[in-house]
């Protein structure tokens, strides 16, 4: 057995991605925005390919394309030239500039360079056309893609939101969820008659319709004017339990503009969704609309119908921390035994968040491990002998070797169709995850059985 106090030096098959990738995904959910990486070309190309393979959508990421010279003398001129090109060719309304390991190491001061760029452009006559420029520091040697995502959201809010007369809008910061999840959240807010500002909104930008013309920047995304108005909203709902000990965009809005902050877990499963709907009821001043009540009722009905299939099954859950927290909450509610919760992230809050959502349900708490890679997860799997795995597609090798079904959720899904349309949130999302879990268990049982039951 491996000693957890002496982790390996090397990483094998990482269970995380690099920081600017998260920032690019966040920027992609803003209207008229182009993500821009300040660094060498390779990083941008790799991230584009990785993201495209999941969403099956175009994903342009501009790059300042630094070469050897710039790595030595500084990347300022390339950054400015790149911004100019993106502005003129894409007609971007916002450029989200994220740094990379390279530019962080050479120490380019990106906020300063961007200020200079603004001044230089104002000296010409293009001032009124200048897009909004948001900068975020995202060195991968300190933090994963989720931290990059959250850092980008926080930067957008800090650098753009303004105060003023209060509005009726509710800010909703969902974290990194699927386009289908965002569409669901929009629907829920609309049913509550709430005006929502969802940041980011990738529902169309990363899952768009067939087009007649190639759009330089896909339609959709959080409108810039809404982002500017976030300091005037009635409240901010921010999702993701592992975030909250840190400084977040929602907390910033509260401290700076007095917008009440409502931190919640990602609404996956029954009770986390209940908590979410409860806050919506408060904010909307009305009961949950009947169709969502019905969805909740059907979910409960299904949990009862299916309880025998899943009871006591052991599950390994891995991936982004907050997604794992939500899934683990739900698994505990249906009688599955989470035995390992693993993430490549290391927020320091993972264990506490898991405990908060499972404590009263589980006789035996799961192992909770931050900073894991798939080599370590595989070692645990050997010891824990799970019946199923839940996570993104990078765990497929492990599931195949171990011979347990893999329920694919989250990002990336590189080996199945429709990853961008997986619904995780709300009663409806829980319903579909439950169906998939049970069917995976039944399919395995059927396959392994010599009898070939036609009724299960």
């Amino acid at each position: 057995m491996k000693d957890h106090n002496a982790p390996y030096t090397s990483t094998t098959n990482a269970c995380k991605l690099c920081k600017p990738l998260g920032a690019c995904l966040a920027f992609r959910g803003i209207e008229g925005a182009i993500p821009f990486l300040h660094g060498s070309q390779g990083c941008a190309t790799y991230m584009r390919r990785y993201i495209i393979s999941h969403f099956r959508e175009p994903m342009d990421i501009a790059s300042s394309s630094l070469g050897e010279k710039q790595a030595v003398y500084g990347g300022g001129p390339n950054l400015k030239q790149g911004l100019k090109n993106v502005q003129s060719k894409y007609g971007a309304r916002l450029i989200g500039v994220a740094t990379t390991c390279l530019t962080e190491t050479i120490g380019d001061d990106v906020p300063l360079l961007v200020r200079e760029f603004r001044r230089e452009m104002a000296g010409g006559n293009g001032h009124e056309d200048l897009p909004a420029l948001v900068t975020v520091s995202t060195p991968s040697f300190s933090g994963t893609h989720m931290e990059g995502f959250q850092a980008a959201i926080k930067s957008v809010v800090e650098q753009m939101a303004a105060g003023g007369p209060a509005t009726e809008a509710v800010n909703l910061l969902p974290g990194f969820v699927s386009p289908a999840d965002i569409r669901y959240l929009k629907e829920v807010l609309a049913d509550f008659d709430l005006t929502g500002i969802i940041l980011p909104d990738i529902s169309e930008t990363l899952d768009g319709p067939a087009q007649d013309d190639y759009e330089k920047i896909p339609a959709g995304g959080t409108p810039l004017k809404d982002i500017r108005a976030m300091g005037r909203a009635r409240a901010t709902i921010e999702l993701g339990r592992t975030l909250f000990p840190q400084e977040t965009a929602g907390r910033f809005l509260e401290n700076r503009f007095g917008v009440p902050w409502r931190p919640l877990g990602v609404p996956i499963g029954l009770r986390e969704t209940d908590r979410f709907f409860q806050v919506l009821e408060e904010l909307a001043g009305c009961a949950t609309p009947p169709r969502h009540d019905l969805e909740r009722g059907r979910l409960l009905d299904a949990m009862v119908d299916g309880h025998k299939y899943v009871f006591g099954k052991k599950a390994v859950v891995y991936g982004e921390e907050d997604l794992v927290v939500g899934l683990t909450a739900f698994l505990s509610e249906i009688g599955v035994r989470p035995v390992l919760c693993a993430s490549g992230g290391h927020s320091g809050n993972f264990g506490e968040a898991i405990a908060a959502v499972t404590q009263d349900l589980l006789a035996e708490p799961p192992l909770v491990r931050e900073g894991m890679d798939f080599y370590e997860i595989a070692e645990e799997v050997e010891a824990l002998a799970p019946d199923l795995l839940i996570g993104h597609s990078k765990g497929y090798h492990l599931a195949r070797k171990w011979g347990a079904p893999l329920i694919r959720v989250g990002f990336p899904i590189h080996d199945r169709f429709g990853g961008q349309r997986i619904l995780h949130l709300g009663y409806r999302g829980a319903q579909s995850i439950l169906d998939r879990i049970i069917n995976a268990i039944l399919e395995k049982k059927q396959q392994d059985s010599p009898v070939g039951y036609g009724y299960l």
Binding site: S63, T105, A210, Q211
Partner: protein, 450 residues
């Protein structure tokens, strides 16, 4: 609206028949353009990746390794160490204090765990900046562990993919010459520049076997360290693809006097001519007879079936944008064989000579382009109203968004496209794409019909 072509890129685009041909290429990517190009590291990784019994450790922050984990369909008939993604996952303190110690420990740990035949250590951008002595660490570990530990100087920012090919070749060249070459036939060769995607190198090896030739080393598809070490015992290097492994062939030519032939296994003409040229090299009438027989047999089987595809596909339009120009040549010819018209052809890393050759083999009006980007490509696709676009995974969504057919001819393909049978697979895929009913419903076509 602004023209879709960046002014600075005008010289990297040519329309055949409009002016004298003089395409600029091998330029650095333009800042702010969304280039489809990758980095030096990517070039090295692509070339060395299929060596299946070696340890491939990426020294750098996590991304560079994570994005290259098991992404290619380079198959192995034995060990599969290459399919794991190893990284030193550098953290802030390593960047400040240097990553040598971490690299040393990671290497020792992984070599102990997996007992590889050799280890490749890839340098990434950060490592180039913090100045780790890769060579020194590798030497030390090599001595301790008794296997070759080879640094690959692949700092991303030091050029484009082609520089990465070069770095990979230099690393491999350090292996060549160390093995025992007794017993290798006079009629023998190394296969360079085939990566065994979807088992392609097995098809090619089988052809050589039928011709009576011994294959010493696969470089690098289904590759083995020990084969590489005795590769200098072969009589000939056959090199596919213009960029990736040519440097190694040249080094072997210089040091060991092994001549090389440039070949292509893609398309009927390319494949047949490649086999004939090898037979001519060995100057053996019996081998030539066997080769003729082989080609005849294969074609007899292939042609009738190709004719069916040809009937359906004649007059359809194709666009090509691939990594290396050499592949583009083969594709142009293959589409011709299917009766199709090539209206756009480009590459990420072509040389002036490559582009001249493309210019010579294409029709009037064909657009020739170097280091393109999504905006340009999409405008060309629309202008030329193409039926199928051949590219890599980054180009696919551009085509699909516009409702244009697409064929992945890149490292992620899962169908064998080489050899005579590969031509048939290719024709089948083109047919399945072009003849799909879905295109008639997409906005682009509906509007035109209205």
């Amino acid at each position: 609206m602004e023209p879709v072509i960046f002014e600075e890129r005008q010289t990297q685009i040519h329309r055949k028949g409009t002016q004298p041909f003089d395409l600029a290429c091998n330029k650095d990517s333009l800042a702010g353009a969304v280039s489809q190009r990758a980095c030096v590291f990517c070039g090295s990784r692509v070339v060395l990746y299929p060596i299946a019994d070696a340890l491939h450790l990426v020294h750098g922050p996590i991304g560079c390794a994570a994005y290259t984990w098991d992404i290619r369909g380079a198959l192995s008939s034995g060990p599969e160490l290459h399919r794991l993604s190893f990284s030193t996952d550098l953290q802030e303190r390593d960047v400040i204090f240097g990553g040598e110690k971490k690299l040393y420990r990671a290497l020792m740990e992984l070599i102990e765990r997996h007992s590889p035949k050799a280890a490749f250590v890839y340098s990434t951008c950060i490592v180039g900046l913090i100045g780790d002595d890769l060579e020194g660490v590798c030497k030390k570990v090599s001595k301790k562990k008794g296997i070759p530990v080879l640094p690959v100087q692949s700092e991303g920012f030091k050029g484009n993919k082609r520089a990465g090919y070069h770095a990979a070749c230099q690393a491999m060249f350090r292996l060549v010459g160390a093995g025992d070459t007794t017993g290798i036939s006079k009629k023998s060769l190394n296969i360079l520049g085939d990566f065994n995607l979807a088992g392609e190198i097995w098809i090619i090896r089988e052809y050589f076997k039928r011709m009576g030739i011994e294959v010493v080393a696969n470089i690098t598809g289904d590759g083995r360290v020990d084969d590489l070490r005795r590769a200098h015992g072969a009589a000939l290097n056959v090199v596919q693809c213009s960029g990736a492994t040519m440097d190694l062939a040249l080094m072997m030519e210089e040091v060991y006097g092994i001549p090389h032939l440039r070949v292509s296994y893609f398309g009927v003409e390319g494949m047949a001519e490649s086999l004939y040229s090898v037979a001519r090299f060995f100057d053996d009438p019996e081998m030539m007879a066997r080769t003729r027989e082989l080609v005849r047999e294969e074609l007899a089987e292939l042609y009738p079936r190709l004719q069916e595809f040809r009937r359906a596909l004649t007059g359809k339009k194709a666009a090509i944008y691939v990594g290396g120009a050499f592949k583009a040549f083969s594709l142009v010819k293959a589409f011709r064989l299917l009766g199709m018209e090539v209206v756009l052809v480009g590459s990420q890393t072509g040389t002036p000579a490559d582009y001249q050759e493309l210019h010579d083999i294409t029709d009037e009006g064909t657009i020739i382009v170097d280091d393109s980007n999504p905006l340009e490509l999409s405008s060309f696709l629309k202008e030329k109203d193409v039926d199928i676009f051949v590219g890599g995974v980054k180009e696919r969504p551009i085509a699909y968004k516009l409702g244009v057919g697409f064929c992945d001819h890149n490292h992620e393909r899962k169908e064998a496209l080489e050899g005579f049978v590969g031509m048939l697979n290719f024709a089948q895929e083109v047919y399945n794409t072009v003849m799909s009913p879905v295109w008639q419903f997409v906005p682009r076509k509906v509007r035109k019909a209205a």
